[in-house]
Every structure is written in structure tokens, then in C-alpha cells.
């Protein structure tokens, strides 16, 4: 306890200095979302500008704070003032803002998106609070409480904000009490299956073994999901503290974090965090003076989606081919090298320090009975406000898409939950609460938290094909149902989107999908048909249009539509003419343009460039080749 008090005090001192800064502090979001938006160039500009101004300032690189659509986010905290955030900062904007704030004492309230101070500062500055932004206000930031606010590469920041206090509480109260708190909290695994976390811990704890392992599953493979990545990039110690707590509860000796190799920044931050833990005595023998030994090792994946499945992950750690193994035995009883292995998702670990700090009951205030607490989601697609969000379980899809997401530009069509193993839900489901049971009963799954919003410009047949092609490529190939089933479904979908669809193709899709659901070996194979089954269930008309009328209403399947210019809407602005690479679109300025479909290659540039919705997709008039197949009938 004393050792912890010591390191905590040091950290607090550092944090105090930061809060009462005498020189400006510049925060820059350099998680992967920021970097993708160009934050590293902004960083360079900041450094150059500071030198030009001969101004001393702290630059702190922080993780993702949520509204990725606002990245790059640059925040400035002048001495005596709260931190103020500026969005979509380009290199030119950065210089302008720095000039204004540092030299002219002008906070540029029109440009600022929010401040991190008290509400009283609103009227003073003319800027609202950052967390009152429409996207952020309905959210409950528990897991993500530090993301964007601390330097993820500085353990002292984490320690200062009650970091590792949860772990100390665990050490003081003992394993049984720890499991009791987790039970009280009602925490369910955040990886997607939603299995009761404390039950898994109990099973693992009760198995007698000289070696036990704890594994953090950070192999976030769903396309469009980045919750785990952002958490690790923004606050790696939250996850690591969770690992320590879990290891103590089940009496484990070695921990692994299995991160996908496609997350190099996350890997780097984890390794740094772990070495800092060693320096502070938080890993190794007799941690912080307690009778507890533990060490953590980072293992990188090798590009296999299937290794996110826990038994395949274990096989990968053992050095074998990543194939799921039949369960039972469950990993908690027999995992790596036959030893009991506790596997939880990154986010599950991220929640634990909060539960151990505040008690299990505290977690229950969010969500509902059986679905307690909060969950992070990656809200992407056609919504206005894309990014990383955290909401209590039970919030409806409508609230998420419209209140937080700000709705869609074009009319809403569908939302995909749970990644490639989840389902597409239609407008009729917008009032479904987002919790494990409700999602499952509507035919989807909550999954690890991907939420992809689609509008009428998305073809759902094409979307189902996309997800199935992804899964076909990633199938481990071991069991018949999945290896062949996905291939048959992709072949059939390609047939439909190519224009060769026949009515019996729907029957084939359905029967193969149902066979896979029931008979596949692992959860992946069993849920892979979900995109097909949900789109067939809720968007059957779109399939039928593709098959019977050979028409794609969303204008995506290129052989099933032609572009057409609506002359009434065309203003003759000439933008489409400029982007058309084949000269299919012709027209004079201020006169309605024309489109020659025989020259059109369906590159879609005109459709996306037009600001007046004057280009639409209509049923094709081209001669149609029906590549009929040889049927085998008995």
C-alpha cells in the first residue's frame, strides 16, 4: 500500500503542475483517427510555429476523444484558462489558431467547438462545454473517461486520475471479494457473446493448476470497428489494470495481450505502457509489495480474422494454425497448453478498474437489469457525426443514430450492428434498445460494437455480398459448413448482382444460411449468415428487384442500372463534365447536360459530384445476356 501511495503522490504532483500550467499546453489528437485526418502534419506545423514565435509550450499527444469526424482536434490550454478545443484543424488553420491564441489573446470563439472548464466559462468565452456537444451530451463516458484527456504514453497521468486504485482495492480485499464485485456489477463480456464475466472467472479460479493464463483479446477484426483500438491507443493502462485485477482474481501467473498486427500504434503504446509498469513495480515479482507475481507479454496476430475467436486465438498463441477447437473443454478449464486460460475482451478489461474503484453496484446505475453498464460503439457510415461513442446499454438505435449521430443526409435505410457476423436492421427497428437480448431477437447481434449506418445509396444485396466475401476469405477452412457454405453464398450473390439471378437463388441462400447457422463448428460460422438472413428478412424486396427486374435501386450493382440526368434538376454547372473520364456526359454551361450510357463506365464520380441530386440510377436498357447455368435435376 505504501509503495502505491508513493508512486501516486509523484504522479499527482506532476498532474497538478499540468493543471496549473504556467506555459501554454497544446493537446493534439494523434490516435489513428487523428493521424488518418492528418494530425502528424499538424504536429509538425505546431512545432515549427512555436519555434517561429519563440514560444515555450507543452505539446501533449492524446488519444481519441470521440467525435472522429472533427479530427484533427487541436486543443489549447492557456495559463489560467480552461482547455479549448478546435476541430478539423488543417496546417493553415493551426497556424492561424496559434497566432490568435498565443499572440493576440483571441480565443477565436467562432472556430472553437468546446471547452473543458466549468459551465460558468460559457458566457465568459462564448464557447459551450465540449461535453455538451450534441454528439457527446447523451453519452456516458466511463470506459473512455481518460481517452483524449491524458497522455497515453505517460503512466503518471493515469496514476494521477485514480489509476491502479482499483487494483489496490482488489489486492486489499482478496480474490473472492473481487469476483463478488464483478458479480454485483452484472458485467457481461464485451466481445460480443455477452457471457457473464464473473461466471467465467469463477470457473477459471476453481481449476487447480500450477500455471494459469489471462489473455486480452485485442484482435478486433470486424471491418469498421475500432473501439478496442481507440481504448488501447488512448488509455492503455485501463486495459492493463483490468488484466492485473483479473489475474489476481483467478490466481494467474502470466498474461498475454493478443493484438492484431494491423494496429502498430496500439502495439507500440502497449509495449511502452508495460515497460513503464515494470519501472514502477506494477509487474514482475511481489507487485507493489504484495504477494502477487504477474507479467504481461504482447503477442501480435498475423492477419487472420478467425483468431479473434477464443480457441483459435489460443491455437495461435501456441504456435499452431489458427483453427477454432470444439468446446468443451472451455478455455477457462483448459486453454493454452492445456492450462486454465481466462480470455476476455479488451473493453471488458477496460471496465474493471472502474468497478473495483466504485463497487459493483455503481455499475448497475447504467443500463438495465441483465444488461448493466455502458458500452463503446464505433458509429460509422452515413451519419453526420461519426466516431467513438459510449452509451448505457438499452439506449435505442434511434437515439444513437439521430441524437448522437446527428442523423443521415439522405433518407435512412438500415443500420448494421455487430460487424460481419451481425445483421442489418431496418427503419422498423429503430426503436429497438441496444442490448444483448433485443439485438438477438431481431436477428442480429450486438457484437463487439460496430454500428454502420446506411442510407438509400447503399445496396443491401451488395452489402451482404461484401460481408460474406470478407468472411469467405477469412474462414479457417476447417469445417464443411462454413468453408463451402460461404463460398456458395458468395457465388450466388455474385450471380444475383451480376444480373443472372433466378428465383431459386433465394431458396439456395436461405437453405445454405440455415445449414451454416445450425451446423457450423464455431460461433463465427454460425453467425456469418446473419447479414444474409437479416437482409432477406427485412429487405426482401431489394433482392426481388435485383432478381426479377434486374434493377439495383441504390445504383450500386453496375450491371443493373444506368445513370440518368434529371433535366429538371440539372443546373448546368458543369462539375460532372469535368470529372467524367470517358466523355459520356456532355453539356454546355447553364444548359441541362446529357449522358450517353453507351460510353458510361459506371465510375460513379458524376453521381457523387452532383450537388443537386440531378443524377440518378434507373433500370438498365442495355441488351441483357443471360448466362444460364446447366441445371442438375433428379
Amino acid at each position: 500500500m505504501n509503495e502505491y501511495k508513493e508512486i501516486r503522490e509523484k504522479a499527482l504532483n506532476q498532474w497538478e503542475e499540468l493543471a496549473n500550467n504556467s506555459i501554454p499546453i497544446i493537446y493534439l489528437g494523434t490516435a489513428s483517427c487523428g493521424r488518418a485526418a492528418g494530425a502528424m502534419n499538424v504536429l509538425k506545423t505546431i512545432e515549427e510555429t512555436l519555434e517561429k514565435f519563440r514560444q515555450k509550450a507543452h505539446i501533449i499527444q492524446v488519444g481519441c476523444i470521440g467525435p472522429c469526424y472533427l479530427e484533427p482536434l487541436m486543443d489549447i490550454q492557456l495559463p489560467g484558462k480552461p482547455r479549448i478545443s478546435y476541430a478539423n484543424v488543417t496546417t493553415q488553420k493551426a497556424e492561424k489558431i496559434l497566432q490568435a491564441c498565443l499572440k493576440e489573446n483571441d480565443l477565436l470563439p467562432k472556430l472553437a467547438v468546446g471547452h473543458f472548464g466549468e459551465e460558468s466559462f460559457n458566457s465568459q468565452s462564448g464557447i459551450q462545454r465540449f461535453f455538451d456537444l450534441p454528439m457527446l451530451k447523451p453519452q456516458v463516458r466511463v470506459i473512455l473517461r481518460n481517452c483524449g484527456l491524458i497522455d497515453p504514453e505517460n503512466i503518471d497521468h493515469y496514476l494521477a486520475l485514480d489509476g491502479y486504485q482499483g487494483f489496490i482495492n482488489a489486492l486489499e480485499s482478496g480474490p473472492e471479494k473481487v469476483i463478488h464485485e464483478v458479480k454485483e456489477s452484472g458485467l457481461r463480456g464485451r466481445g460480443g457473446a455477452g457471457f457473464s464475466t464473473y461466471k467465467k472467472w469463477e470457473i477459471c479460479r476453481l481449476v487447480e493448476s500450477d500455471e494459469k493464463y489471462v489473455v486480452c483479446n485485442a484482435d478486433e477484426g470486424d471491418p469498421g470497428a475500432f473501439m478496442n483500438r481507440s481504448l488501447i491507443e488512448g488509455d492503455p493502462h485501463a486495459v492493463l489494470e483490468g488484466l492485473l485485477i483479473a489475474a489476481f482474481a483467478v490466481n494467474a501467473t502470466q498474461g498475454y495481450i493478443y493484438v492484431r498486427a494491423e494496429y502498430p500504434l496500439a502495439v507500440q503504446r502497449l509495449k511502452k505502457a508495460i515497460s513503464q509498469m515494470h519501472q514502477k513495480g506494477l509487474l514482475g515479482k511481489n507487485i507493489l509489495g504484495y504477494n502477487f507475481n504477474f507479467d504481461i507479454r504482447v503477442m501480435e496476430g498475423a492477419g487472420a480474422f478467425v483468431c479473434g475467436e477464443e480457441t483459435a486465438l489460443i491455437a495461435s498463441i501456441e504456435g499452431e494454425r489458427g483453427i477454432p477447437r470444439p468446446r468443451p473443454p472451455y478455455p477457462a478449464e483448459s486453454g493454452i497448453n492445456g492450462k486454465p486460460t481466462l480470455i476476455n475482451n479488451t473493453e471488458t478489461f477496460g471496465i474493471l478498474p472502474n468497478i473495483l474503484r466504485n463497487g459493483g453496484n455503481w455499475f448497475q446505475q447504467y443500463g438495465s437489469h441483465g444488461n448493466t453498464g455502458t458500452k463503446t460503439f464505433s458509429l460509422v457510415g452515413k451519419v453526420r457525426h461519426t466516431g467513438l461513442i459510449e452509451v448505457p446499454l438499452g439506449m435505442t438505435l434511434r437515439q444513437i443514430v439521430y441524437d448522437i449521430g446527428g442523423g443521415t443526409e439522405k433518407p435512412f435505410k438500415a443500420v448494421q450492428t455487430g460487424g460481419p457476423l451481425g445483421g442489418c436492421l431496418s427503419v422498423a427497428h429503430l426503436d429497438t434498445p441496444v442490448d444483448y437480448e433485443s439485438m438477438r431477437s431481431s436477428g442480429s447481434i450486438m457484437g463487439s460494437g460496430g454500428l454502420i449506418v446506411m442510407d438509400e445509396s447503399t445496396c443491401l444485396v451488395d452489402l451482404a455480398k461484401f460481408f460474406l466475401k470478407f468472411f469467405r476469405r477469412e474462414s479457417c477452412g476447417n469445417c464443411n459448413s462454413c468453408r463451402i457454405g460461404t463460398r456458395i453464398m458468395v457465388d450466388t450473390l455474385e450471380k444475383i448482382t451480376r444480373g443472372d439471378g433466378e428465383p431459386r437463388d433465394l431458396a439456395i441462400l436461405k437453405s445454405v444460411a440455415e445449414a451454416m447457422q445450425k451446423t457450423a463448428l464455431c460461433g463465427g460460422g454460425q453467425t456469418a449468415p446473419n447479414p444474409i438472413l437479416t437482409t432477406l428478412r427485412y429487405f426482401l424486396s431489394e433482392y426481388e428487384t435485383h432478381i426479377h427486374e434486374k434493377y439495383c435501386p441504390a445504383a450500386i450493382c453496375s450491371r443493373l442500372f444506368d445513370y440518368q440526368i434529371i433535366t429538371d434538376k440539372c443546373t448546368g454547372c458543369g462539375r460532372c463534365v469535368k470529372v467524367c473520364s470517358t466523355g459520356a456526359i456532355q453539356g454546355q454551361l447553364k444548359e441541362p447536360h446529357t449522358l450517353d450510357i453507351s460510353r458510361c463506365i459506371k465510375c460513379r464520380l458524376c453521381y457523387e459530384t452532383c450537388r443537386f441530386d440531378a443524377i440518378i440510377g434507373v433500370p438498365t436498357k442495355q441488351p441483357y445476356f443471360n448466362e444460364s447455368l446447366i441445371e442438375l435435376t433428379l
Partner: protein
Amino acid sequence: MKVKISIDGRPLEVDSGLTILQAARQYQIYIPTLCDYQGLSPHGSCRLCIVEVKGNNKTPASCTTPIEEGMSIRTNTPLLRHLRSDILKMMLSEHPIACLLCTERDTCDECMVTLRKASVITGCSSCPKNNQCELQNLVDSIGIIGYNYPIRYRGLEVQRDDPFFDRDYNLCIHCARCLRICENIHLSGTLTYVNKGPDTVVGTAFGRNHLDAGCSFCGACVEVCPTGALTEKTRKWDGAPDDETLTTCPYCSVGCQMWLVSKNQQVIGSLSSQLPGDGHLCVKGKFGIVEFANHPDRLRHPSIRLGKTSLNISWESAISHAAEKLSACMSQQFGMLISASSTNEDLYIAQKFTRTVMGSHNITTPARQYYGQGFQVIPSLLPYTTSVVDIENAETILCLGVETRYAQSILESRLIRAREKGATIISIHPNPHNLSAHADLWLQTNGGEDVEILKWLAELSHAGNDVPSNWNKVATELAGKLEKIIAPLSKSSQSIILVGNHYLQHPNNSYVLSAIKKIAQSFQAKVVMLFPQINFTGSLLMGAYREYFPGGVSSSSKKHLEFLREKWDKGIPECPTNNFGENEPIEQDLRVLYMIGDTIPSPRTRNEFVIYQNIYPANQLCTPDLTLPMAAFSETEGSYLNHQGRLLISRPAVPSIGKAMPSWKILCQIAKAFGASGFDFETVKDIQSEIAQLINEFQPDCKVNLTSFMTDSTEISGSKEFSLNGGKPSNTFYLPTHTKEHTYLGYPLGTWVAGMRVLYPDEINCLMADLMVEEIKCSS
């Protein structure tokens, strides 16, 4: 502990710890399976064994689901039938099904109307596994109703690069049996899955062919493959066998049990049986039988030599011709050479013929020459023998010159399993070999070093905690390695020493084997000598040498001589003891030389009458006057004594080819043409009962006690100490010439089995006779 469950409404009680499939099988309830295979752990990939379990909305696989108290299981509901049919249809979308769903399938054989000969298999009738294919059986039992899935055949090239079997992965149905048996049972790790998704296919690392990938060609994968994906090259168009016989493999002294399958009275293949192979054979037993037994060059008629040609004659003429020549032959002018791969009965009759009919003791086997000086030392090591199964329970295993890639591949899996249990494996071998990857320590010996190393090991083992004399003269590096070898041996209570060909046939093997004996005595270790000849132990026990009487008793024992005279009711001369231990098989000028199953290496310079009895014609340098066709091991009954002294039975799978007869029968007929008595044997059993009167333990499946084997014998000396010339390497070129393990009845197996030649590309297979012609002196 018993658990109550119900299957299809039947309440049943089964042991806990079983899977649903195991429980169902206990009560003869049928559930279709494909990837399941006895001896392999359940894999759960085919999804055909699915069942319905109350409370579970999915259909779990019964092979991987353990039973629980109160489970209610259904194995044959409409839903299950529908799903199984669906899965089967999915499998068929990747597998050529031209015949499976064709309405003319049953009549096709008769009129061949739809058969197309193509090098690509398009359907059952052009597939080697037709009528032997598990997929066909499944389609018939599960039934397909309509077929409408899009087909996507793989279009892979058939792989024919490797010897013995072809791989057509277009027919693979991903049961994973082959890679499971290779990875988990044989522990060779040659096969695995490569790629992922629908491109998943069975293959080797880096796409190598099997020869480069380290495959032992044990053939286990071919045996377990349910379809025609893996097929033996020699067995493609034979169809399903109509008979199978359990017999013993004749190619080495381990004596694996195997099933010979035959069709139309011809051997078409061999399958593994249980111990000691544990479910697989080595390449010789698996792939070296069919071509060997059926080669067109096999002798079918007796013949005599006329100048440069030979003339086929009848058995009557042949027998009387032989009897005529033999009767004119004095005792000391007769010599009998019989292969140590012959059965006990053949050996017994041969020595009885020599002793009672010819009145001579001039009988020997080529093994004497093969083992050289060590021939006298080997019997004293026999009491230390044990079964190869014990390897898995040993704590330390010292492998001397043991190469496990091909000939002893069945030992390799045992050694690896022993190591997984914690055993220490030490290998002493001059070349890189398969074991060097698995051994804890590999001591690579240079030419000539072998003896010094064994000398020191023997001294160290004897010295215990003391230091042997002159120990300080040993180079430090070598001393360190030797101590590393001695350490685990001295600590463990269960050690085994395996002696391979390199040491058994070493130029100084008498010293080597004595040193091994010393080591074995010091550490109470067992010694397994891996004789390449299956019945070497038997040849000693049957007395097929001038030194030994039947029973393995020394022929200098007057007491036993009297005993035999009484039993055989014949006067046998005393045996001259002055030439005991001499290497030369037969010394004096001979009038008649009778060779069974082998030839003597030197070309014919003498004027004797040569009778040659084998299954293949004699090599070029040996020009026999009378050639007699012998029946092969697959055509005769008999018994062998393996390295452990276990009596193993050989059974005939097919009738003898042409006019060939078993050796013992030929000898009996010649004896009777002499008018000799004591050769009225009708069957092998008659011979066995006579042998049993002389040797107590001679019962099938019994272990002959080899410890009491040699107690009557006089101590045969002859171990000369070998000393290096002051440790300086000599400049003469050391060309190791061994007759390798894959020689049988005088010929390398590669002479008749094409694939064998591919396995040993670096070696020159030449007969001793050929070397003599070129005047190359051999060291062995």
C-alpha cells in the same frame, strides 16, 4: 461413474466422460461420420455426425460433445436428415460427382456406355477408389434429393512427383484424417492445411513434394484417406480386394503385423495392424510388398543350365537330378547357405538335412559374413533385449547409428512420444539424420572415431564415480560430450540402447558390441539390436550354423549331440570345433553348394555343382547349375523369431506362383528321394511340433527366453582391441560400404520396387559381385 441419458427416446446408462457418438456406438445406434477415425482424437470438421440435443437450438456434432446427465438426444429427425443432406451436397459441390448422381451408375459397369478415359478424374468410374469410397457410401446412406448448388471444382494439378502414391486434391473432402495421423500419431509433421477459406487444401510446408518435406512414406495417410485423393500407384485399377490375411512383415527383425489384401489370388496391398507398429508400417512394409511379390521376373519353374541357356524341367526331374548329385557328394564336400530371412521351419529342415542326410555341419547364413567378427558377440547381447514398445516408457534412450527416416520410421514416433513424456534421447551417428532433430544430444562421429567413443563410454560406465585410466589423454571437447552422454544414463533406471545398422555392421563390431554390453551391464540398460534380417535370432535358435545345434546350444556339447541323435534317430557326426568363429562360410573344396535365398558374394571359381533356390533368378556372377523356384513369404506359412525372441506367425495370403514350393517342402522331397527318413512332414504344423520337442517354448506368440539361450555354449572369444594410430587421422579414403537394410533375399528392394530407388538417390546399389568384378576391395 454412470450417467443416464436418452437417445431417440431410449433411456440408456453410459459411462461418464464419453462423447455422444461413443455412447451411441456402445448401443449400436448409427450416426453417419466421415472425419472420425479410430485412434485419432475427434476433429469435428465434417459436421455429418450432428444430432439434436434438447435445450440446444443448434445441432452440435456428436463426436465432440460430451454427454451430460439427463441429456436427451435425437439422432435421426427430419431436420437432421435435411441438414446432413445439405452438408453432403455442399461437399459434392467441390468433388467430381459425375457418377454419384447419375441414373446409369449401376448399369455402367456392364456396358461402359458413359465411361470416358481421361487423366483427370471426372466421376466414380474413372476413380481408383470406386466401390471402396466412403463418400459413395455416405451418399447412398444419407441420400441426395435434388441438386442445385453452384459447383466449383478446384481444378488442381494432380501431384505425381513422389514415389509410391499420387495426390489428387481435387478429390479431397477435408476430413483431415491424413494430417491428423501424420501430425499426432506418426509425429512426422509432413502434412498440414495450407491457405485459408475455400482455398484451404492439404499440403506440405512451402509446397515441397513429400520427398523434400521429410515424409517417411509410411503410407498411413494413404490408408486413412476415405476418397481417391491419396492412392497407391500400384493399386489404382485393382478395385476392391476380395480377401485379407493377417501376417508378419518379412523385411526386418521388428516383425510388424500387417494385413495383406489380395484380389483374384494376387497380393494387391498391405495394411497396418496394431503392435508393434501401432497402426502404421514403414515404407518397406507398406509399399515394398506388391511389386516385390508380383514382379514378372519371379521364378516359376525349376530349370537347369545348359551352357549359356537354361532349360525348364519338371519337379520330378529336378528333384532326382539334385538327389543324384548329392548322393555322390561326401559329407565334407557339401555346403548349405540359407538366408537368415527364411522361416524357422525352413531353417530347421535345412540344418536337419545338412546334418542327418548329408552328415555334415557345413551350414551357415549370409548373416555371418554380414556381421563379421561381431557374429560371435551378438548372442551374448541377446539376453538384454526388450520390445520396441518399451521405448515409450524409457527414461533415457541411446541410439547408436539409428536412422529413422525410412526403414525404422515406426521407431521414430515412439522416440518422439518418449521425449514428450520427458525421456532423454542421445544419438551417435556419423551423418545428419532424422533423429538429430529430436535428440537432446547428437554426437556426430567422424570415420574411425566410433570405436574410440564407444570404448570411452564403456570405460566411463564401468568407472562409476572414478575416473578411468588415461582419461586425461582425451580431448576436452570430446570428454565433455561423453560426460553429457553418461550423465542421463547413470541417473535413469530405465534405459534402452538401440543399435542400428551402422554399428551392427561396423568393421570392428566385435569390439563395438562388447563395449555396448559393458555399458548395458553398468547401467542395467536394455539393448535392442535392430537386425535387418527378420529371422536372425531364429537362425541362431534353429541351429543354422556349424556352431549351434537347434535350441541354440553349442555344437561342441556332447550331451546335446546325444540328445539330438536320439530324437532324430540318426547318427550325426561330431562337429569339428577348430573352425568356430571363422568368418569364411565354407572353406573346403566343395562338390555341391546348395544356396537358399541368397548367394555367396564371391564369383564362382570352384568346380562345384550349384543348386540355387530363391524366388528370383540368381545375379549375373552366380551361374547355378540347378535353379529351384521357392515360394515367397506371402505364399507360405511359417514362423519367425523377431529381435525380442517373440514367435511371430506368417500366413499365406495367396497360392504359390507358378510351380514354386516352400523351401522346406523342396528339401523334404529331395531327402525322400534319397530314401532318408525323418522328413515325412505334410504341413508346417508337423515341423513345428517336432521343433517343439527340442525347444520348449516354441509356441505361437510366445517369447522364447533368450537369456538361457547360450548358457551351454563355450565362451567364444575374439574381441580384439582396436587402437587408433596415436589419434592421427589416416589418409586413406574411407568408403563406407554396408549392405543396407533394404536388402532382402540377396537383392536390394529397389531391384523390384521402383519407388525404393528414389528414396536413396545418393547411394549406389551394387552387388558385391559387381564390385569384385571391378576389383574394388570392400572394408566390410
